[in-house]
Symmetry: C2
Subunit: 196 residues, 2 copies
């Protein structure tokens, strides 16, 4: 039984609760009962807002996916040399990850057991592929070192960027501000840690 509470949720505010629980328990490990308890409203109230937990997952990962793909339509991603575009996209990806932290965290953790999860993984791969294409174009321009394979560079770049979900926390206690983190990622990935 849930504690009685007037249902003042919108699909949007309910999503905030659902994403937190999905990230804590894993999507597979979350039941409608868990969501009902966390939100403090009955399961039937939740069904009033959404068809079920898969719809909540779809809305949540869509938010992350839409924010990521929107980067590719920004002028910094569309104009200039490929190396500058890929640097721009890297910086903005870090910024989106920090701004939409719980949503991107969930996106990175989906495992492909349901149709929605498989769709999310597919869209994530498409985004990675768009970045890989930019890296390839930058390599073709002679702006990237030739001794690191582009596919491998893409994986390592995303490895570094995506690792932020494991430790970046927006609170002051987190230690690093967002701009400092975005700068560090771009500097390390493109210019390296070694002093010029």
């Amino acid at each position: 039984m849930t504690t009685a509470r007037r249902d003042t949720y919108t699909p949007e505010t309910l999503l905030t609760v659902a994403v937190r629980i999905f990230n804590e328990r894993g999507y597979d490990g979350t039941s409608m009962e868990h969501l009902s308890r966390a939100a403090g409203i009955s399961k039937s109230s939740i069904y009033h807002h959404v068809a079920g937990k898969e719809e909540l997952l779809r809305r949540a990962v869509s938010r992350a996916i839409d924010a990521l793909f929107a980067i590719l339509d920004e002028s910094g991603a569309e104009r200039g040399r490929a190396v500058e575009r890929v640097e721009y996209v890297t910086r903005r990806t870090v910024e989106v990850l920090m701004a939409e932290l719980p949503y991107v965290t969930l996106l990175l953790r989906v495992r492909g057991n349901t149709k929605t999860e498989r769709w999310a993984m597919e869209r994530r791969r498409e985004f990675d592929q768009r970045v890989a294409d930019l890296l390839k174009a930058a390599a073709a321009d002679g702006d990237l070192r030739a001794d690191v394979d582009t596919r491998l560079a893409t994986r390592l770049l995303f490895g570094m960027v995506n690792s932020l979900v494991e430790w970046y926390r927006p609170q002051p206690g987190g230690g690093h501000d967002g701009e400092q983190v975005a700068d560090a990622v771009v500097r390390m990935a493109f210019d390296g840690l070694r002093a010029g």
Copy 2:
């Protein structure tokens, strides 16, 4: 019930099975029953080899931890300028991660619910701290760029290195050989992707 099978395990070979199941189901989600089924021997046969699943976890993460700490005693990690030592340790960490992939994967996934998990996380933090100290020494030598905070550099470096457990697979189908991967990590982290 398990399928009857003669118990030809040693603690070592039983560990191989246990680590695979821990990585598949998560340590928390693995019961002695799961281990018994995967190994094809009875629970009491398992108890003949080890005191329980926590001992299997301890042996498994110890194998990863010992391999990582051993790097720090190698001459490449002890002699020369700090920047060369930290490059050496980075390369060797990638090599150990690839050589001991299931063990390091498990180490990186433990979450701190039991005494053994908390000990493993503590040892992992100690290793990260040793690498952070080397980076700090290299920065003090003027060999690392001053505009990336050392703590942040450590996190990003481990973010990149540790991401390998998500995609690196030793089979030919995996696409990249180990040396190529280790080279790419060191080049990207210290010299950056941009053409000299």
